[in-house]
């Protein structure tokens, strides 16, 4: 109704004693937007969510929910008085309540009488396709089912902002798919804003309108999924947001811009920061390079994945991971060379060889 952002974090800082878990974090989530917070374990994702929810006091900074300040140093609005819903990593279902009572719990807290709340909860569960779970207790449900009930519980809150704390971290493949679908559908339905934390780049890119990269409590980059995937701000961000190959190259500005890898000129769509010169690194995503081309390289490894095949090609500039649709067209030991079609230019960095990352 208003267009004030659903969430504003201004210079949010959280200290646990000497350890700084969040460092002057400033970010916004617009109304109706889904922001993914992507970062490795220990980067502060859970702390951020706990701070927004009100479980953790701020050491500095400010949190504003829907135009209303809810947390500052020395002041905090109680969690139950913030218009938020939270889906936990460990589901956090109550062992003594069945699915209906669990989903009815937030409804009852709004003052709705018990019987009405239970029927509303049943209705919600039915709408989400969870009829079968209605009378079941957590001990009788699989991980995926529990998390879906957890999601229903959060939705029953009818909040302005939903927080997802790595909701699929402990689920198996099937459960993960089910929950992700559920969340996507719910997003479309309610139009509320969401903050979704994850350590899985694929998940984050799929669900988000924007992605924030978090490292040791600090924001490294915020942008659309395409921005953080194709134009990461440094090597660390590059590795975080998807499978990455880094190739040493050389950039010369005179007479025209020429990029060479071990002497071989690269004819490709090249983007990067403006003030680069001399030795640089090229970020090449597996789908930006194809087998067969001027850059000499020997196939070191071939992995057939079904829909596509991943190759590792060792060139003079470094190892390149190539993804091509279909069955293998080269074998280990072949020297087809590669054609880099697109790359993102980064500063030269002292980095070790990237691990064999696959999706």
């Amino acid at each position: 109704m208003t267009d004030s952002p659903a969430l504003v974090c201004r210079s949010v800082t959280v200290d646990y004693g000497p350890h700084r878990a969040l460092d002057r974090l400033t970010i916004e989530v617009a109304a109706g937007e889904t922001l993914a917070v992507l970062g490795p374990s220990g980067s502060g994702k859970t702390t951020l969510i706990h701070a927004i929810a009100g479980f953790v006091p701020l050491s500095d900074g400010e949190i504003v929910l829907n135009g209303r300040p809810v947390a500052r140093r020395g002041m905090a609005v109680a969690p139950d008085l913030r218009s938020i819903g939270l889906v936990f990593q460990n589901y956090a279902l109550w062992p003594h309540l069945d699915a209906v009572d669990t989903v009815a719990y937030p409804i009852r807290r709004r003052g709705v009488p018990k019987a009405q709340a239970r029927s509303d909860a049943e209705e919600l569960l039915r709408r989400l396709g969870m009829d079968a779970l209605v009378r079941r207790r957590p001990a009788e449900m699989s991980g995926g089912e529990q998390q879906r009930v957890g999601l229903a519980r959060a939705l029953a809150r009818q909040a302005d902002l939903y927080l997802f704390d790595e909701p699929t971290a402990h689920l198996d493949a099937a459960g993960r798919v089910a929950v992700q679908e559920e969340i996507a559908a719910a997003r479309l339905g309610s139009g509320a804003a969401a903050l979704y934390s994850s350590h899985d780049a694929g998940e984050a890119l799929a669900l988000a309108d924007r992605v924030a990269l978090l490292r040791a409590g600090r924001l490294v980059q915020v942008g659309t999924p395409d921005e953080v995937y194709a134009r990461p701000v440094d090597v660390w961000a590059a590795r975080l947001t998807g499978p990455a190959s880094l190739v040493g190259a050389h950039l010369e500005h005179a007479p025209g811009r020429v990029v060479t890898v071990a002497g071989t000129p690269i004819e490709a769509r090249l983007e990067g920061e403006h003030d680069l010169e001399g030795p640089i690194q090229l970020l090449v995503r597996p789908d930006w390079v194809s087998l067969g081309g001027p850059l000499a390289g020997v196939v070191g490894d071939v992995r057939y994945r079904g829909p596509h095949t991943d190759y590792r090609v060792d060139t003079a500039g470094g190892a390149l991971f190539v993804r091509a649709a279909g069955t293998p067209t080269a074998a280990v030991g072949d020297a087809p060379g590669v054609q880099i079609e697109r790359a993102w230019m980064l500063r030269a960095d002292t980095s070790e060889a990237p691990p064999w990352t696959t999706g």
Binding site: Y16, H19, G42, T46, H50, A53, G54, F55, V56, P57, A78, P79, D80, R82, I84, G85, L86, F88, Q89, N90, Y91, A92, L93, W94, P95, H96, Y105, P106, R109, R110, P138, A139, G150, R153, A156, R157
Partner: protein
């Protein structure tokens, strides 16, 4: 975890172990209890004890029951509150508080009673300082208070475990974030989830209280307040009459019936409350203290200091004071009491206690391992359950039964006391060992077998190292229990076989305050200091791990 008992590979071992368990059960518990029932029936048939004596027995039993209930209520309330304070609030000095809450585990009950008498009794520390002493300390109120102090650590441990698993932090957070106020979340989520643990802790506290002898002996008897255990002691060890003997037998039977009925009922109730869920979520930083939170944590600190620390201080001061009635100021200090407490008689008793406790602990751990190895199959399950029930049999009853069954052959020997210790503490050791064994994965054992090791070698090289901490822990636990044991020792000892606890009790009844305090200090402080040091070192190294 392992559904299959790990060492059940050979049928021969299984039969052997089962036979050993059943034989031990029969010898240690079955035969004595049977003898007790027969003699009791015999006495009742002859009309003994008479009406008046039956009335006093009934009064003692009634006292036992209601003090047990009171102790359970107080201990569980205090223990749960303390658990909330240490687990869920940012209380000052949390690590020290945790250790202090657990201190009474290492202090024998009768020493706690003695220390309270020296702190809050007439002529005690409080009396010397401000001229006030606790009314009713000698009597029902004092008995309940001190028994609650000794029972609180167990209730606290249960509540802590429950707060970490059943009532994990995330569950409370989920309630808050679903719109529940702090109090509502506590009432609708935390409390119901804690219920099974609370019931379990209350049951344990009740059983411990009805078993207790040392505390009612020191605080109840001087005021004429008798429980079943002190009544039995009075009748067997302080009365020459036959009527007294009959009454002791009858009370012993009544006591064990009470304990067993209660254990079975509580167990039924607990199994109906459902299993424990898994996964707790990060403990994370705790909520900063609200006003009520601050009041609660201060209250816990005060209670712990008043209940445990001050009395121990008073005890040490008593040991140092020259003569009864003088204030414990440094001018009146002397080392004479501490010196006298090192006299030959006491050193001998100390040595005997240490010997008995070591042997008992070793036997119990070995037996526990044997029983654990067979518990997969049905008969094994029965044996395991029976072993557990032995823990519920009150010490007084067991002692009386032992006298009846083995008194002729083993009267006045250390072996009789040893047998009683093993019978009583088997359940304790077994529980710890079995608990550890259930967490051991089977696959490493199978890997050893598949690498060519025989069952025995595989157990020795793969299973035993994993279980060593639990075995050592069980050994220590049983050792401490046996070392401090008073109830059975006081009824079973004879010339030259008194244990240190018995020596202290005897001395206390003769009334030599200074030497009694000195002995109690020797008994209690060294293991206490060692354990505290170990705890501090252990925790500080553990907490260096990243959050």
């Amino acid at each position: 975890m392992a559904a299959e008992p790990v060492a059940s590979t050979t049928r021969r071992w299984w039969w052997l172990a089962n036979g050993l368990t059943l034989a031990a059960l029969g010898l240690l518990v079955g035969r004595p209890l049977l003898e007790l029932i027969l003699v009791g029936a015999d006495q009742l048939a002859v009309g003994r004890p008479g009406g008046l004596d039956r009335a006093t027995a009934g009064a003692a039993l009634a006292n036992t029951i209601w003090t047990g209930a009171a102790v359970a209520a107080v201990a569980v309330t205090a223990g749960t509150a303390a658990a909330f304070v240490t687990e869920r609030t940012a209380v000052a000095g949390r690590r020290v508080l945790r250790i202090t809450i657990l201190l009474p585990l290492l202090v024998p009950g009768f020493v706690s009673a003695l220390s309270w008498a020296r702190a809050y009794g007439p002529g005690g520390l409080l009396d010397d300082a401000v001229g006030v002493s606790m009314p009713g300390l000698f009597g029902a109120a004092g008995v309940v208070a001190v028994l609650a102090v000794t029972a609180m650590p167990v209730a606290y441990l249960v509540a802590v475990a429950a707060l970490r698993t059943q009532a994990a932090p995330d569950l409370g957070r989920a309630a808050r974030v679903s719109g529940a106020r702090s109090r509502t979340a506590f009432l609708t989520i935390s409390l119901p989830l804690l219920a099974p643990a609370v019931v379990g802790a209350a049951a344990l506290a009740f059983i411990a209280a009805i078993n207790a002898f040392g505390v009612p002996a020191v605080l109840g008897t001087p005021a004429g307040f008798r429980t079943a255990t002190t009544r039995i002691y009075q009748d067997l060890a302080r009365s020459a009459g036959d009527e007294a003997f009959s009454r002791a037998v009858l009370l012993a039977l009544a006591l064990v019936l009470l304990a067993l009925v209660f254990v079975v009922a509580a167990d039924r109730l607990l199994s109906r409350l459902g299993p424990a869920p898994s996964g707790g979520g990060p403990a994370g930083p705790v909520a900063s203290l609200s006003r009520s939170g601050r009041a609660a944590s201060l209250a816990v600190w005060v209670v712990v200091v008043v209940a445990t620390v001050l009395p121990l201080v008073a005890l040490v001061l008593s040991a140092l004071t020259r003569a009864v009635g003088l204030p414990p100021s440094p001018a009146n200090w002397t080392f004479a009491n501490l010196g006298e407490a090192l006299g030959m008689r006491y050193v001998g008793a100390l040595g005997r206690s240490a010997l008995l406790a070591s042997v008992a602990a070793s036997i119990v751990v070995a037996l526990g391992a044997v029983v654990t190895s067979i518990r997969g199959r049905s008969i094994g399950r029965f044996s395991a359950a029976a072993v557990l029930l032995t823990f519920a049999v009150p010490g007084s009853t067991l002692a009386v039964a032992m006298i009846l069954a083995y008194g002729n052959a083993l009267r006045d020997t250390l072996v009789l006391i040893l047998v009683a210790y093993v019978a009583k503490l088997w359940g304790v050791g077994h529980r710890v060992v079995a608990g550890s064994a259930s967490g051991i994965a089977v696959d490493p054992y199978r890997a050893a077998r598949v690498s060519g090791a025989s069952p025995l070698v595989a157990v020795r090289t793969v299973i035993e190292p994993q279980m060593r901490p639990a075995l050592a822990g069980a050994w220590l636990l049983v050792f401490v229990f046996a070392f401090h044991e008073l109830t059975m020792s006081s009824l079973l000892y004879g010339p030259g076989t008194d244990t240190i606890a018995v020596a202290i009790l005897d001395l206390q009844q003769i009334g030599d305050v200074g030497v009694v305090s000195a002995l109690a200090v020797y008994l209690t402080l060294p293991p206490l200091l060692v354990a505290t040091a170990l705890l501090i070192v252990g925790r500080s190294s553990a907490s260096r791990r990243a959050p």
